[in-house]
């Protein structure tokens, strides 16, 4: 069984809009809220890593295929699916609309957590955030909250409930 | 010179006229010299109660009160038209209107005076939209059709105008189709009692009239 350490959602303004960390042995959960500065720091680090890695993969991807300058409106881009280090691995899914879902799990040979991330995006996030007109769809309400400076999060109890229900058995 | 038919669409709740016109063939009289020209709306309105009673008769089978109608038309006439028309001329054929016979089964009988309308519909199914000729006033026959939301279509024809019921039903059906398109328009107000001003609606009604009723 795979062990999950944490789950993150970043939007296209480089803000972390949802994060939750599981302490597997003590079974207690810590969620990113406005005042938990510790989680904020971690979110910044996490985003920095994902951002630089995806920039790197793009340069290699463009080298691999003789990348001729296509229409500048539709640049050719790809994204990494999984990075693993000695003790853990990070699985990410980047949607075309710029949302990044990522799971930090223990090192395992099971292949990418693609299906789990797709499920979270398509069933849980879509139902509770996208289709809910009373929930923000863009968490950066003003110019000053973009480029990683934003502070708003998904505060939706049903959303939390579904995420835990989904991740609980995987712990 | 035949007398043109009078056709009206009356709103379900306020009974106000949504649309009125005369359907005339080539050789019919022109507008001014139609006798009792301004009595038609009153006849149409007085027939509304007949329709309501026919509808209610099917549901709550109240004994239909014939004198009530007679009295009502009389009040109308006294109220406005006392000079032109003698009230006692109103003749109501008993078999024209719904009769409640002895047994409690309500007998829906719409046999109109046979010599005038060869094709008489003796028993329309209960709840039918087409009500046939429901009323007769001083030589004018009122035939009517009711839509599902109780908007009433009425044709007032002269006694010696031979009315073919199949053609009449086709006419009412097409008018119902047109009325539905008017109702479905989101910009028709909710109450829906504003008169229908669309010129095409008017043109189509006249063509249907000519197609079904006059030829």
């Amino acid at each position: 069984m795979v062990k999950i350490y944490s789950f993150w959602i970043f939007d296209r303004h480089c803000n972390c809009i949802y994060a939750v960390e599981f302490d597997t042995d003590k079974k207690e959960i810590q969620r990113l809220t406005t005042n938990s500065s510790y989680m904020h720091e971690k979110a910044k680090l996490m985003y920095g890593l994902i951002f630089s890695m995806s920039k790197l993969t793009n340069t290699y991807h463009q080298k691999s295929i003789d990348y001729k300058e296509t229409d500048e409106l539709f640049p050719l881009e790809t994204n990494f699916k999984k990075i693993s280090t000695g003790s853990y691995s990070i699985h990410t899914l980047k949607t075309k609309t710029g949302l990044i879902f990522s799971l930090v799990t223990d090192i395992n040979d099971q292949d990418r957590m693609e299906i789990e991330l797709q499920y979270i995006y398509r069933e849980i996030y879509l139902k509770h955030v996208t289709l809910n007109p009373f929930e923000y769809n863009d968490y950066a309400l003003s110019e000053s909250e973009t480029k990683g400076e934003g502070f708003r999060h998904i505060e939706n109890s049903n959303f939390d409930k579904d995420i835990y229900a989904f991740i609980e058995p995987l712990l | 010179m035949s007398i043109p038919l009078y056709f009206a669409i009356l709103h379900n709740k306020t009974d106000s006229a949504l649309y009125e016109t005369f359907l005339a063939s080539k050789d019919s009289l022109s507008a001014e010299d139609i006798p009792l020209k301004d009595l038609y709306p009153f006849i149409a309105n007085s027939a509304i109660d007949v329709i309501d009673n026919i509808q209610q008769a099917n549901q709550t089978n109240l004994p239909y009160n014939k004198t009530h109608l007679h009295q009502k038309v009389q009040d109308l006439v006294e109220a406005n038209m006392n000079s032109k028309v003698e009230p006692n001329k109103t003749s109501f054929f008993v078999e024209n209107i719904l009769v409640k016979d002895g047994s409690n089964k309500s007998l829906v009988q719409k046999v109109t005076n046979t010599h005038n309308n060869p094709q008489n519909i003796n028993s329309l199914p209960e709840g039918s939209l087409f009500l046939g000729t429901i009323d007769e006033y001083d030589g004018y026959l009122v035939s009517s059709y009711v839509t599902y939301n109780n908007t009433k279509f009425m044709v007032i024809s002269d006694k010696n105008h031979v009315m073919n019921y199949l053609q009449l039903q086709k006419f009412f059906l097409n008018v119902h189709d047109l009325y539905l398109k008017h109702l479905m328009n989101p910009f028709t107000s909710a109450k829906g009692d504003m008169p229908i001003k669309s010129l095409l609606f008017d043109a189509k009604i006249k063509v249907f009239g000519d197609l079904y009723l006059l030829s």
């Binding site: - | 309105n45 509808q55 939209l129 398109k181 010129l199 609606f201 249907f208």
Partner: protein
């Protein structure tokens, strides 16, 4: 003499709509050739499609609702939900956040009036109107209605359009009656038949599946309930608001069927299997 007895002021007589002189009026010209004018669309009432949908009568489960509508006669549910929820949000937040339930109810009432008449007329199943574009209609497209009657002086207000083209164009877009000549789809004479009609046909027309149950609530048969285990469009984010809209629709249908209805309100019932099971309670006026 109060006027609501006759629906008009006693001394002026009923309001006579101005009778148009067909031939004199030039603005009739473009509306005649305007194929998009709603009165011109011959095929708009697709009498066939909903007729056999309603007739096939198979018990549809919720996800089987996909197959119910044919090509061109259905849209995706998410499009409907996006628009509905967005309008609800606009009404609640922008237009009037105190009595938005009343506004939603009125809008539903609007929809109910139209649906009741439309679905019934479709079930009247007269022969399908001429919807295939005949040669004549093609010719109509570029037909310029020559107004040669304007010099005629006689005020014959009911003169039928003399031009043969328009006459035959209209006569081809008529609705044909069954040979039997007797109109089949009758009005609902008792409230029970109307209720069954709503449960079966109207629900199928709107949501592609029948409502699950109808119950009489009290003995003096003045209030009834329509139960829907899994209301299709209320199951997502705002069940209460969307149910208010559906209540408006039911009220519109009941009132246009000539029954005086006091109120229609909704109640979410607890249920193990269905979490959005709702009952629409109709109170009739005594």
């Amino acid at each position: 003499m109060n006027n609501n007895l006759f629906g008009y002021e006693q001394d002026q007589g009923p309001k006579i709509t101005q009778l148009t002189e067909l031939n004199k009026d030039s603005s009739i010209l473009n509306s005649f050739n305007d194929k998009n004018n709603v009165n011109n669309q011959s095929g708009t009432l697709d009498l066939e499609s909903i007729k056999n949908n309603v007739d096939n009568g198979t018990k549809l489960s919720v996800n089987a609702a996909k197959k119910n509508y044919e090509e061109g006669h259905d849209v995706s549910m998410s499009a409907y939900l996006f628009v509905l929820l967005e309008f609800i949000k606009t009404i609640v937040s922008d237009i009037d956040n105190t009595n938005h339930s009343k506004i939603l109810g009125d809008i539903g009432h609007d929809v109910g009036i139209r649906i009741y008449e439309l679905v019934n007329f479709k079930l009247l199943n007269p022969k399908k109107s001429m919807s295939t574009k005949s040669a004549l209609i093609e010719k109509m497209d570029n037909y310029k209605y020559i107004d040669n009657l304007s010099h005629g002086s006689t005020l014959n207000i009911s003169q039928v359009p003399s031009s043969e083209e328009i006459y035959s164009y209209i006569s081809t877009t008529t609705v044909e009656l069954e040979e039997s000549g007797v109109i089949k789809n009758l009005k609902h004479l008792s409230f029970i038949t109307l209720l069954q009609f709503i449960q079966d046909t109207i629900w199928k027309y709107m949501f592609g599946k029948k409502a699950d149950d109808i119950q009489k609530i009290n003995e003096d048969d003045s209030s009834y309930a329509i139960i829907d285990n899994d209301p299709l469009i209320a199951s997502l984010v705002l069940p209460a608001k969307v149910n208010e809209f559906i209540c408006g629709i039911i009220k519109g249908v009941v009132e246009s069927a000539n029954y005086k209805c006091e109120s229609v309100n909704t109640q979410i019932l607890e249920d193990k299997t269905y979490n959005n099971k709702s009952a629409y309670i109709i109170k009739l006026q005594k």
